[in-house]
């Protein structure tokens, strides 16, 4: 090696070293859905994440961070394009934020195959949980099916013998019905797939009334869920047929919009605003301080994702040139999750408890979600066994 090459090499090393100095903030790419009817989901994830950064005064685990937020507009192609730009132009090594499975499906491979880490605050489709699991892919929220498995178990625990199930006709909808059936021991008396752009459910209400099930399970996230519940009530079904749902069909915003009509609905969740642990109380208080809108579990997932990143950044001092130690530290999940016990399973998806919630009238008269008994303990997912990491 002649002196010139040596000089160049050391210059490059110097540049690389200076980039990882503590004064150069770690970039976190947040690709999320901010526009359209589902925009509030991404907004809450982003704001929950930001709360954790603000609580530390602009750092995570003592390491300065900057968050680059981009809107995927719920278009898989956009997600992919943004990831490409952040990876190559901005040199981002840490990604998070994607709300929807279809955007995740298109965007994830590019990120994790290109030596960057993705930590999911929400969507976790089954295809990345099993044999296609990846060392650069972590999930802080849940595996898609688990949500609805907990609802199935809840319906079984509550002693219902027949169920009518409804979900939109797309992959997450089919996963929902699959997950519910896996843990529901009774009989399915009706199975209906709705449309993602559907605004009127009158036809479905008539079918439910005709089938006379003991319980209805439905998966309609965001605005769809509000519409469905309101029309369920208007059709007079709420008085005759109880409902069991997983949390996406009854988040804080939906509850707020539906109001008293929601009282009595059975929900299953991994977190709720009334959880009695320090981390959760701190988070709820910080949210109320910062934002004037209902808290959702999406926000809690954004917050927890930031905590998980903070734990790993703290352990390795913010050095992302070698991802090995970062992954190692992240896998330990050494942080106080707002949901209490939390660990990563072999496929780097959560192992956590699921709880039965019920919508009740709160002290101020407004309906609220009240946590009841634990439905599933240390629950992993159906695909973890297929993963060889």
């Amino acid at each position: 090696m002649n002196w010139r090459k040596l000089a160049t090499a050391s210059a490059i090393t110097l540049a690389a070293a200076s980039a990882t100095q503590a004064d150069e903030p770690v970039k976190i790419g947040m690709i999320t859905t901010l526009s359209g009817p589902a925009g509030y989901l991404g907004q809450d994830i982003r704001d929950g994440f930001q709360l954790a950064i603000d609580a530390e005064g602009g750092t995570l685990g003592g390491v300065p961070v900057t968050m680059i937020v981009e809107d995927d507009a719920l278009k898989p192609g956009n997600g992919r394009q943004i990831a490409d730009r952040l990876l190559n132009n901005e040199g981002v090594k840490l990604f998070t934020g994607i709300v929807f499975s279809n955007v995740a499906g298109a965007t994830l491979p590019d990120i994790i195959d290109n030596d960057a880490i993705y930590i999911s605050p929400n969507a976790a489709p089954s295809n990345f949980a099993g044999s296609e699991c990846h060392k650069n892919y972590f999930v802080v929220s849940w595996q898609n099916d688990s949500l609805h498995e907990s609802a199935g178990q809840n319906a079984t625990n509550l002693g219902y013998e027949t169920a009518f199930v409804l979900a939109p006709n797309y992959q997450a909808g089919k996963d929902a019905i699959g997950g519910f059936k896996r843990f529901f021991k009774g009989e399915i008396v009706g199975e209906v797939y709705t449309r993602l752009d559907q605004t009127d459910f009158a036809a479905e209400m008539a079918q439910i009334r005709d089938a006379k099930p003991a319980v209805v399970f439905q998966f309609h996230p965001g605005g769809l869920g509000i519409t469905f519940l309101r029309q369920y009530q208007q059709a007079g079904l709420l008085e005759t047929t109880p409902m069991v749902v997983a949390e996406p069909s009854m988040d804080g915003v939906i509850l707020n919009a539906v109001g008293e009509a929601a009282i009595g609905i059975n929900v299953s969740s991994h977190w709720n605003a009334d959880f009695d642990n320090e981390a959760s109380k701190k988070f709820v208080a910080a949210w109320k301080e910062a934002y004037d809108r209902p808290i959702t579990y999406y926000a809690s997932q954004g917050y927890d994702t930031a905590l998980a990143i903070a734990s790993a950044l703290k352990a390795n001092g913010g050095n992302l040139d070698d991802l090995g130690p970062f992954r190692e530290a992240l896998r330990k999940a050494d942080f106080q999750s707002v949901r209490g016990d939390f660990a990563f399973g072999p496929n780097q998806h959560p192992i956590q408890d699921w709880y039965a919630l019920k919508v009740v009238a709160g002290e101020d008269g407004k309906p609220m979600l009240k946590t009841g008994e634990r439905i599933l303990e240390d629950h992993s997912d159906a695909y973890a066994a297929e993963c060889s990491l």
Binding site: L34, S35, V69, E70, D71, K75, P76, G77, R80, Q81, D84, R85, N88, N89, S101, N102, G105, A106, P109, P125, N169, Y170, Q171, A172, K174, L196
Partner: protein, 328 residues
């Protein structure tokens, strides 16, 4: 005007040279994602220029061209899926991951789709034509949404881009140069087409169908041929897009995509050779520049679009020419 006639080929060559030099320059500037953006512009440019054949030269306002774009993409995706699984499609068509097979297949299939849709739609005209093309595109959209085998609403992931002899298609720059080469060939063909007798007849039909019929020209057949050629071009663009994104989804067929393609054509200049390419460039650059500034980027896009329609009379190309002191 002689100056502009002389100037235009030089301008086109200069743009071409810049496009060839782009990847290394972008890398040197530390902006390698510029190359991806340029590839997207080229691909949408092909799609928009294809739409312009019916829209600009033929005067047929198709509000369903995303259908052909999507069909082209899905041909690549479905052939890849069958190549990966090893099961032949319908039991006898083997899958493929060879670019030299999938591109012609995509052009062929989208051409066939355009033949069927065009043959039926061209029985109407005006507003009804706009709406019937939209209706067919919506039908195809919902068809792909309900195809569970091919991912349904979630789309179809293509794990690896198609292979081509002597080329390493895993390299992004190679994919870019492939897109550029195809775009050059496409626009060369389009230039021949625009100056052909066929295109003259088409433009004549736009002005007066009755007069052309009086000369004894079968209007319907000419229009249908133009529609099919246009559909094939959009299918080619879709196939390239599927290779570039390694992903095909019903989103490619959504009516807003048809709208975007129309926006590109109008932005650039209806009925001009390179206008749609310029329009695609403006639209995509606007979208990504605004999106990196503000999450309310659609507001900016909307205001600029409105301005272009109301005040430029002929898109950015005309605007640029007027600013340069020439009449468009």
């Amino acid at each position: 005007m002689p100056i502009s006639k002389l100037g235009r080929p030089f301008f086109a060559l200069a743009v071409l040279a810049a496009l060839i030099a782009l990847p290394p320059v972008a890398d040197a500037m530390g902006q390698p994602a510029l190359t991806s953006m340029a590839a997207r512009i080229l691909i949408y440019g092909i799609a928009a220029a294809s739409l312009n054949i019916v829209l600009g030269y033929g005067g047929m306002v198709s509000f369903g061209h995303a259908a052909f774009f999507g069909v082209g993409g899905y041909v690549v995706g479905i052939l890849y899926a069958h190549h990966a699984s090893g099961d032949p499609l319908f039991g006898f068509i083997p899958g493929s991951n060879q670019l030299l097979v999938t591109l012609p297949a995509a052009i062929l299939v989208s051409g066939l789709a355009a033949l069927v849709i065009g043959a039926l739609s061209l029985r109407t005209s005006g507003v009804q034509f706009i709406m019937i093309t939209l209706a067919f595109a919506q039908m195809l959209f919902f068809l792909f949404v309900s195809l569970k085998t091919y991912g349904g609403d979630d789309g179809l992931i293509i794990r690896r881009a198609n292979e081509a002899p002597w080329l390493n298609m895993r390299d992004k720059q190679t994919v870019y140069y492939v897109c550029l080469a195809i775009a050059v060939a496409f626009f060369a063909l389009l230039w021949r087409f625009v100056n052909s007798r066929f295109a003259n007849v088409l433009m004549g039909l736009r002005q007066s169908e009755r007069r052309m019929a009086a000369i004894g020209l079968p209007a319907y057949r000419y229009k249908l041929a133009a529609f099919v050629i246009s559909g094939m071009g959009a299918g080619l663009a879709g196939a390239l897009m599927a290779n570039f994104l390694r992903f095909a989804s019903p989103d490619m067929l959504h009516w807003t995509k048809s709208g975007e393609l129309m926006v590109m054509v109008i932005l650039g200049g209806v009925g001009t050779l390179f206008g749609p390419l310029a329009g695609a460039a403006v639209y995509i650059i606007l979208e990504s520049v605004l999106a990196s500034w503000t999450e309310y980027w659609q507001l900016g896009v909307g205001i600029i679009l409105l301005f272009v329609v109301l005040y430029t009379h002929g898109g950015v190309q005309a605007l640029a020419l007027r600013l340069a002191g020439r009449r468009p």
